[in-house]
């Protein structure tokens, strides 16, 4: 259907993608309720059975109810600056989610020390490219290679890697993945790949 609407601008085909996207959004809204109820179910069970760590489950339930009640009661404009929902978002949600990503910086370093090994030629090449890009993209790179003439310093090398070999690789991956998805989608549409739907 989507395939058809791409080529035919005529009503109703040109409306089809709008409908589908709207339906999809509505289903998602219902699905998220399922997820939240599941979380609540698990947490409440924990509290009732007094499983280890049930205190934290109470915190989950309380914070969930708090933001949901506030957000739903504040109406359509819940996102405006100055609402309680916005306050919770800015001062609770944002620090938590930012820090969750920031913490990965630590793990990158630890992993680079313990796990990233030049165990074969491919991995060596990968680490070398990473090395040049990392060093070339920050001012330190040019301080180290400052003795070289302008134009052939580490920053230029990093740029070159990004613009040429990197682009080529990305392109090949892009085409490959797109074709993979096309063919997998066709399998789904033709009903070959349906193991996932068998049984509930």
């Amino acid at each position: 259907m989507f395939v058809i609407q791409y080529f035919i601008p005529h009503y109703p085909f040109n409306r089809m993608s709008h409908w589908f996207s709207d339906w999809f959004a509505i289903i998602l809204a219902c699905a998220i309720v399922l997820g939240a109820l599941n979380l609540m179910k698990i947490s409440i069970q924990k509290v009732i059975k007094k499983k280890p760590g049930w205190g934290y489950a109470v915190v989950i339930i309380v914070s969930f109810l708090l933001i949901t009640v506030i957000g739903l009661s504040e109406g359509e404009a819940f996102r405006e600056p100055g609402t309680w929902f916005d306050w919770l978002y800015v001062y609770v949600y944002t620090p938590c989610s930012s820090t969750m990503f920031a913490i990965l910086g630590f793990f990158v370093a630890s992993a680079s020390y313990r796990a990233f090994r030049a165990r074969n030629f491919e991995a060596t090449l990968l680490l070398l490219a990473a090395f040049f890009v990392m060093i070339g993209r920050v001012p330190v790179g040019d301080i180290i290679s400052g003795f070289m003439p302008e134009g052939v310093r580490l920053s230029n090398l990093a740029s070159w890697i990004m613009t040429f070999p990197q682009t080529a690789g990305q392109r090949a991956i892009m085409i490959g993945i797109a074709l993979g998805i096309v063919s997998t989608s066709l399998r789904v549409i033709l009903g070959i790949e349906r193991a996932h739907l068998a049984g509930e």
Binding site: S21, I135, S155, T167
Partner: protein
């Protein structure tokens, strides 16, 4: 002393430290600054201790994870206090953004889409500020919007920051005439699609609730054909990829973009194909752009930390691999 007692002690210390400096902040203490000499000594100490780790590792003792963490913490935190001069090299993709902007005559209309939220702000906010600064300084008209719910809020933060600059303040810019924030609209890439035919159908009012046709800056803006340049700040979906697919491929706008470093490499094919004119990648891209626009903000300030962090990661990769090759030679094991 038991571990527990030590932990409590550390906690108390952290608390006391925070409290002292917080009170200091309220009382208006000066910022902490390292002079160049102190900075160099710190760098030397870190380098020496890395050497020590190298020796330990070669002897076959991997240092603990937490020590690595500690190193990263130091490498990122200390440089924030340092004052070191640094030269920033400009990459061609950043230059392309700048050159396109330079080519725009006064009064050109620029559409900026803020498609990110606070977690990616460290990378994208400096770009937003530098970009707006350039536009305001050169009398370009800025129309802002967001495909992410939090985007327009980030736009407001950036505007506030830039307008407080002396040079811009003296220009006395007016909301609605020189810049406007259309707010957020749900619908992902379909928003761009419908904007292709009519902006107003997607944004009946701006974020303050003023009807579209009453805003002088946009009342004559029908669709993309009235926009001279589009810029997109993106940290995921929907973002630059969607803008390229729809706004560029179908409606033919000129698009530049600022991306988080994670997704920047995937944009290079678009750049090479000319679908994207210029790209700012991550905080480094922001720093380069700040250098060009002469708006020196956080991107530049954080570059020392960024350099340090990269060097530490590279050092750990090298140390780890040196140890790996030595142990391989000894045991002759192949995994």
């Amino acid at each position: 002393m038991s571990t527990k007692a030590k932990e409590i002690l550390v906690l108390a210390l952290i608390f006391a430290f925070s409290l002292i400096f917080y009170i200091g902040k309220v009382l208006g203490w000066e910022a902490v600054r390292f002079s160049t000499t102190v900075s160099l000594i710190v760098i030397l100490l870190v380098a020496l201790s890395l050497l020590w780790i190298l020796i330990l590792t070669i002897r076959g003792r991997l240092v603990e994870r937490r020590i690595v963490f500690l190193y990263v913490g130091i490498a990122v935190a200390l440089p924030l206090f340092m004052t070191l001069s640094q030269r920033i090299a400009i990459s061609p993709e950043v230059e392309a953004v700048y050159n396109t902007l330079e080519g725009l005559p006064e009064g050109s209309k620029v559409l900026v889409s803020f498609d990110y939220d606070p977690p990616s702000a460290p990378e994208l906010q400096p770009m937003a500020e530098a970009f707006l600064y350039y536009c305001f300084e050169h009398d370009l008209k800025v129309i802002m919007m967001g495909l992410w719910p939090q985007g327009p809020m980030q736009a407001n933060l950036a505007i506030e920051k830039v307008l407080s600059d002396e040079k811009i303040k003296s220009k006395n810019l007016k909301y609605g005439e020189d810049y406007v924030n259309l707010g957020f609209q749900a619908g992902y890439e379909f928003v761009i699609q419908r904007m292709g035919s009519d902006f107003r159908s997607m944004f009946p009012t701006d974020y303050r609730g003023t009807p579209y046709e009453q805003i002088p800056l946009v009342k004559n803006v029908k669709n993309f054909s009235n926009i001279d340049y589009c810029f997109n700040l993106s940290s995921g979906f929907p973002g630059t990829r969607e803008w390229v697919q729809i706004a560029v491929d179908r409606f033919g706008v000129t698009l530049g973009a600022g991306n988080t470093a994670v997704q920047a490499p995937q944009m290079y094919p678009f750049m090479r194909a000319g679908q994207l004119v210029g790209l700012l990648g991550g905080m480094v891209g922001a720093a380069e752009f700040e250098f060009l626009t002469k708006w020196i903000g956080k991107g530049t300030k954080f570059m020392i930390s960024q350099s340090f962090a990269h060097v530490i990661v590279i050092a750990f990769i090298i140390i780890g691999n040196v140890a790996f090759f030595r142990s391989k030679r000894k045991t002759g094991l192949k995994r």
